[in-house]
C-alpha cells in the first residue's frame, strides 16, 4: 500500500473499526486512524514539495481505462489543511462526546467523510469526482443531524436536498461532457474541450451544482441553520472542510478541464455573486444574537472572498498577477478553514460551560475560559485579515491582483467585508472585556477542549508569517493551467 492510497484506505479502515468496536477501543481506533492519515498526508506533501507532482495509476491499469490519482501542489495544500483540521477535530471529539450516544455514529461518519475528502483532492476523473463528492455530501448531511434535535433535523434535511440538487446538476453536466468528448479525465480534457453549446451547458451545470454545495449566494440559505445547529466538532468539519471540497473541484474544472471555454462573463458573474455574499453574509453575521449563527453567517461572507479568485484569475488581460490571485484565493480557503474550525470549537466550549451561546451571555464565562476567548480573538484577527495572519496574506495577494488587473471594484468587497468582519468579531470580543457578574453554575471545560481551538487559531495566525512554501506549491507544482503560472 502506498502512502498516497493510505490516505484513503486508512480512514476507511478506521471507520469500519469504529463501527465494530465500542467504548475505549473505538476511540483508540479512531485516533490511530486519524493520526496515521495525517502522517500519510504529511509525507505526501513533503514528496510533492521536494520532488514533483505525482500521477499514480490505481490497480495497475493505465489510462484511459484505469483510475488515476493526481497529486499536485493544489491537492497537497488541501490535503494538508484537511489533515491538520481533521486531526484536531478528532482529538477534540474524543473528549467532546465523552461516551455519549452520538459517538457511535459520529466516528464512522467522520472517518468516511475524511476518506471522501482525501480522494476528492487527488481525483483526476470527473465521474469519480462525482462519486466521492456524493460520499462527502451524504456523510456531511448525516453528521449535521447527529444531535437529533428538531431544528437540526429541519436544517439537515434542507441541506441534504440542496446538496442533492447540486449533485444532480453536476452529474448532468458530467453526462453532457462525456457525450460530447468521450472522456472524463480532467487533465486531458482541456485538449478536447471546445466552445460548443453542449459543453457550455455542461460547464454551467457543473459550476452551478458546485456553487450550491459551496453555499455561494444565492444558494447560501441552507448553510447558517445547518452549521449553526450542528454539534461543535461537526460544525467545524462542515465549515472548514466540506464546503472547501466543492470549491476545490470548481478550481480544478475552471483551471483544468474547462480552461478553453471559461469566459470573462462567467468569471465576472461569479465574482459579483461572491462580492454580494461577502457583504450580505457579513452583514447578517453582525446582526445575529447567537454566537454559532454569527460564525455560520461569517462563513457565508468568507466563502464570498473565495469566489473573487475567478474574475481575478480568469478574466484578466495581463496574466502576470493572475497567479497572485490564484494563490491568494487558495490561501484564504486554508486560513479560513483553520480560523473557522477554531471558532466553532470555541463556541462549543461556551455551550458546554453555560448551556447556551447567546452573545450577551458571554461576559459571564470569559473569566473562566480565558483560552477559549483567546482562540476566538486570534481566529477573529485572521478573519478580519489584520496582519500578521493567514487572512492578511490572502487579502494582500487578492488586493494586489485587484489593482494590477484594474478591476478596482473588487476592492469594495475586500475593504467593506473587512470592516463588517471587524464589526462582528469585536461584537463578540467586546463582551470578552467586560467582567460582568460571575455565574455560579458554569460547568468546567476540559483543558483539551480549550487547547484544540487555540492551536488551530494560532495556526491561522502563524501561516501569515511564512507564505513562501505554499506559494511554491501552488504556483510551481501544479498540473493544471493557471494563467501566468507555469504551464504543465
Amino acid at each position: 500500500m502506498s502512502v498516497e492510497s493510505g490516505m484513503i484506505l486508512m480512514p476507511f479502515a478506521g471507520a469500519v473499526a469504529c463501527f465494530l468496536f465500542s467504548g475505549r477501543a473505538r476511540i483508540i481506533a479512531a485516533l490511530t486512524a486519524s493520526l496515521l492519515t495525517s502522517a500519510a498526508a504529511a509525507v505526501t506533501v513533503l514528496q510533492v514539495f521536494i520532488h514533483e507532482e505525482m500521477r499514480i495509476p490505481l490497480g495497475g491499469w493505465s489510462q484511459p481505462l484505469g483510475i488515476q490519482l493526481h497529486i499536485d501542489g493544489l491537492s497537497v495544500v488541501f490535503l494538508l489543511m484537511t489533515a491538520v483540521v481533521g486531526l484536531m477535530v478528532s482529538i477534540y471529539s474524543s473528549v467532546f462526546f465523552a461516551r455519549q450516544t452520538e459517538e457511535r455514529h459520529f466516528w464512522p461518519l467522520w472517518l468516511f467523510l475524511w476518506a471522501g475528502l482525501n480522494s476528492l483532492f487527488m481525483v483526476s476523473d470527473i465521474f469519480n469526482a462525482y462519486v466521492v463528492l456524493e460520499l462527502v455530501t451524504i456523510c456531511a448531511a448525516a453528521l449535521a443531524v447527529l444531535s437529533g434535535k428538531v431544528e437540526s433535523l429541519k436544517a439537515g434535511l434542507r441541506y441534504f436536498l440542496i446538496a442533492m440538487a447540486g449533485s444532480l446538476a453536476f452529474l448532468l453536466g458530467v453526462g453532457f461532457l462525456y457525450a460530447e468528448t468521450g472522456m472524463l479525465d480532467m487533465f486531458a480534457l482541456s485538449e478536447k474541450v471546445t466552445g460548443s453549446l453542449p459543453l457550455a451547458v455542461s460547464f454551467g451545470l457543473m459550476t452551478a451544482g458546485l456553487a450550491m454545495k459551496t453555499a455561494l449566494l444565492p444558494f447560501h440559505f441552507w448553510l447558517p441553520p445547518a452549521h449553526g445547529e450542528a454539534l461543535a466538532p461537526v460544525s467545524a468539519i462542515l465549515s472548514a472542510l466540506v464546503i472547501k471540497a466543492s470549491f476545490f473541484l470548481m478550481l480544478r474544472l475552471w483551471a483544468g478541464a474547462f480552461d478553453p471555454v471559461v469566459s470573462v462573463y462567467a468569471a465576472q458573474t461569479i465574482g459579483f455573486l461572491g462580492m454580494a455574499a461577502v457583504l450580505w453574509g457579513s452583514y447578517q453575521a453582525v446582526i445575529q444574537s447567537r454566537l454559532k449563527l454569527v460564525i455560520a453567517y461569517s462563513s457565508v461572507g468568507q466563502i464570498g472572498y473565495l469566489f473573487l479568485l475567478f474574475p481575478l484569475v480568469f478574466a484578466v488581460q495581463e496574466t502576470t498577477w493572475a497567479a497572485q490571485a490564484w494563490t491568494g484565493g487558495v490561501y484564504h480557503a486554508v486560513s479560513h478553514a483553520l480560523a473557522k474550525a477554531a471558532m466553532f470549537m470555541a463556541a462549543g466550549n461556551l455551550l458546554i460551560a453555560t448551556g447556551n451561546d447567546r452573545i450577551d451571555n458571554m461576559r459571564n464565562v470569559v473569566g473562566s475560559l480565558p483560552l477559549t476567548t483567546m482562540s476566538l480573538g486570534l481566529a477573529g484577527i485572521s478573519l478580519m485579515g489584520l496582519p500578521p495572519s493567514g487572512g492578511f496574506v490572502a487579502k494582500w495577494m487578492l488586493m494586489q491582483a485587484v489593482f494590477a488587473s484594474g478591476q478596482w471594484w473588487w476592492a469594495i468587497a475586500l475593504v467593506f467585508g473587512g470592516l463588517l468582519t471587524a464589526a462582528y468579531v469585536f461584537r463578540i470580543l467586546g463582551h470578552a472585556f467586560v467582567s460582568g457578574d460571575r455565574q455560579e453554575n458554569i460547568r468546567p471545560v476540559p483543558l483539551i477542549l480549550e487547547a484544540v481551538p487555540l492551536i488551530l487559531a494560532l495556526g491561522s495566525i502563524l501561516i501569515g508569517f511564512r507564505a513562501e512554501e505554499v506559494i511554491f506549491l501552488l504556483e510551481e507544482r501544479v498540473l493544471c493551467q493557471i494563467p501566468g503560472g507555469n504551464s504543465p
Binding site: 467586546g430 467586560v434 511564512r466
Partner: protein, 499 residues
C-alpha cells in the same frame, strides 16, 4: 552573537514578551507583575541607549529582516528617526509603568491591563523600527488591537461606547491605509524606506495616481494622528485611565500616526518629490486647520482631560505642519516636536491623573486653590502648560521657534501668524487653569481619596517630576549634541536637508 541583528529584536521583544508573560499571571501576583514590568521597561531603556550609542558613535547599522515570502521582507532597521521615537517610547514606558502601578493599585483586571499595556508599547516600538511600509503597517494594526482593551478598561457603558467609536475610526483608517499600501506596491514592487527615488522613477504618467495614493495614505494615518476631520475618536477615548491617556497621547497612537506621516513624506515620497507633486500645500493647510480647530475646541471644554485631549489634536499637527514645509528648520521642528510634545503632554496627563486620584476633581471649575493642597503637582502642571504655550525655558519654545524659522525660510510667512494665533489660544485655555490652581481660594474642603505622606503617592509624583524636568532640560540643554534638538538636527543633516 551578532548584535546588529539581535539588538533590534531584543528591543522589540523586551515589551512583547513581558506583555505575553503578564497575561498568564494571577491577579494576586502583583509583586511579580510589578517587578516583571519594571525589569522589562528598564531593560528596554538600557538596550535602546546602547543601540543609540552603537549607531551614533560607532556607526553600526542595526538591521533584522525576515522574508515573509510575498516578495517583501519583514524588516526592522534602526535609523536616526526610529531612534528618536524609540528613545521617547522606551523612556516614557518606564515612567508610565511606574505611574500606572501607583495609579491602578488595588483595582481589578490588572494583569489584563499591564499585558496589553506592554503589547501596546511593543507595537509602537515596532512602528519605530519598521524599515518598510509593510512592516510599519503590521505594527500599526497591532497597535489598534492592543489599545482597544486599554480604552475600554473601565468596562462602563461609556467606556465601551468610546471603545467602539475608537475601533470604527482606526479600523476604517487601517483599511484605507491598506488599500494605499497595496496600490503603491503594485506600482513599484517592494521597497524599503532607505530606497530613495523609487516613486520619482515611475515617470510622469503615474503622477496622478501617486497624488491619489498620497491622499489615501494621509487619510489612513490621519485617523490616528487626529487630523481634522478624523479626530473624533480622541476626545471620547479620554474615558480611559490616566496612564493610558498619557501613553496614547504622548507615545503610542497619536504619535504613531504623526510618525507615519513623517515617514511617508520623507522616506516614501521624499520631501522634494512631494513638493514637486504639489502635495505639501494641502497637507500644510489641513495641519493648520487642525491646529486652530483643536485649540478653539479645547477652549470650550470644561473637563480637564478633554481640554488636554483637544490640545493634543492641535499640538500633534505641529509635527505635520513642520513636515509639510519645505525648509530645513521646519524639518527639525517636526522631528523635535515628536519628542517635545510627548514629554510635555505626558506631564500634563500625569498631573490631571494625580489631581483626579487624590482629590477626585475632574472639572476645571473645581480646581480652585489646588495649588495649596498639591503644590508640586500644580507647579509641574504649570511648567508643562507654559511649554505648550511656547514660553521659554520649556521644550515647546524650541519647537515653535524652529517652526517659525522654517516658515520664514520657506517663504511662507503665514506660518508665523498661525503660530501666534495658536499660542494665543493655548494661553487662553491654559492660563485660566493655572490661575485657578494658584490664585483662587478653595470653595469647599478637599475629599481625600488616598492617604499618603506626600501630597500624592510617590509612584504618581516621581514620574510626573521626571517628565517635567525632562521638558525643561530639553530646552535648557538644547544645544547639547544628544538633546532631542541635537538629534533632530543630525537627522535633518542625514536627510541632506540641513546645512
Amino acid at each position: 552573537m551578532n548584535l546588529n541583528f539581535w539588538l533590534p529584536v531584543l528591543v522589540l521583544c523586551s515589551s512583547l514578551v513581558t506583555g505575553l508573560i503578564i497575561f498568564f499571571l494571577k491577579e494576586k501576583q502583583s509583586a511579580l507583575r510589578t517587578s516583571l514590568n519594571l525589569i522589562g521597561a528598564s531593560f528596554k531603556v538600557v538596550a535602546v541607549h546602547y543601540m543609540a550609542y552603537r549607531l551614533l558613535v560607532l556607526g553600526e547599522i542595526h538591521e533584522a529582516s525576515f522574508s515573509m515570502g510575498l516578495g517583501f521582507d519583514f524588516l526592522l532597521r534602526v535609523d536616526f528617526l526610529s531612534l528618536m521615537f524609540l528613545a521617547l517610547s522606551s523612556n516614557l514606558w518606564l515612567v508610565t509603568t511606574l505611574y500606572a502601578i501607583g495609579y491602578l493599585e488595588g483595582s481589578a483586571n490588572r494583569s489584563r491591563f499591564f499585558g496589553f499595556f506592554s503589547l501596546c508599547v511593543a507595537a509602537s516600538t515596532g512602528i519605530a523600527l519598521a524599515g518598510n511600509l509593510i512592516t510599519f503597517f503590521i505594527f500599526y494594526e497591532f497597535l489598534t488591537l492592543t489599545t482597544y482593551p486599554l480604552v475600554i478598561h473601565r468596562e462602563s457603558t461609556a467606556a465601551l461606547e468610546a471603545g467602539r467609536n475608537y475601533l470604527w475610526y482606526t479600523i476604517s483608517g487601517g483599511s484605507v491605509l491598506f488599500v494605499a499600501i497595496v496600490w503603491l506596491h503594485v506600482l513599484t514592487g517592494p521597497f524599503n524606506f532607505t530606497d530613495t527615488g523609487v516613486l520619482e522613477a515611475l515617470g510622469p504618467d503615474r503622477h496622478l495616481t501617486l497624488i491619489f495614493i498620497f491622499a489615501l495614505l494621509i487619510t489612513g494615518l490621519g485617523v490616528k494622528a487626529a487630523l481634522v476631520p478624523l479626530h473624533g475618536w480622541l476626545p471620547v477615548a479620554m474615558i480611559a485611565p490616566a496612564p493610558v491617556s498619557a501613553l496614547l497621547h504622548a507615545v503610542a497612537v497619536v504619535k504613531a500616526g504623526a510618525f507615519g506621516i513623517v515617514r511617508v513624506v520623507f522616506d516614501v515620497y521624499g520631501q522634494h518629490f512631494a513638493g514637486f507633486l504639489g502635495l505639501l500645500e494641502p497637507l500644510a493647510l489641513v495641519a493648520t486647520i487642525t491646529i486652530i480647530f483643536g485649540s478653539v475646541r479645547a477652549l470650550m471644554q470644561t473637563d480637564l482631560k478633554k481640554r488636554l485631549a483637544y490640545s493634543t489634536v492641535s499640538q500633534v499637527s505641529y509635527i505635520t505642519l513642520g513636515t509639510a514645509l519645505l525648509a530645513p528648520f521646519s524639518t527639525v521642528a517636526a522631528i523635535v516636536h515628536l519628542a517635545h510634545q510627548g514629554i510635555m503632554k505626558i506631564t500634563l496627563f500625569f498631573c490631571a491623573g494625580n489631581i483626579a486620584e487624590t482629590l477626585g476633581l475632574h472639572n476645571i471649575r473645581d480646581l480652585n486653590g489646588v495649588g495649596r493642597r498639591m503644590p508640586l503637582t500644580s507647579a509641574l502642571f504649570t511648567a508643562a502648560a507654559f511649554g505648550m504655550i511656547g514660553v521659554p525655558p520649556v521644550a515647546g519654545f524650541i519647537s515653535k521657534w524652529y517652526l517659525g524659522l522654517g516658515g520664514l525660510e520657506a517663504g511662507q510667512s503665514w506660518v508665523i501668524g498661525v503660530l501666534m494665533l495658536s499660542s494665543l489660544l493655548n494661553a487662553a485655555y491654559f492660563l485660566p487653569i493655572i490661575h485657578s490652581l494658584w490664585f483662587k481660594k478653595p470653595e469647599k474642603p478637599w475629599k481625600e481619596l488616598r492617604k499618603s505622606r506626600l501630597e500624592a503617592p510617590w509612584t504618581l509624583l516621581l514620574p510626573t517630576l521626571v517628565t517635567a524636568v525632562m521638558s525643561v532640560l530639553a530646552c535648557l540643554w538644547a544645544d547639547w549634541t544628544w538633546s532631542p534638538l541635537g538629534v533632530a538636527r543630525q537627522i535633518a543633516v542625514g536627510m541632506g536637508v540641513y546645512p
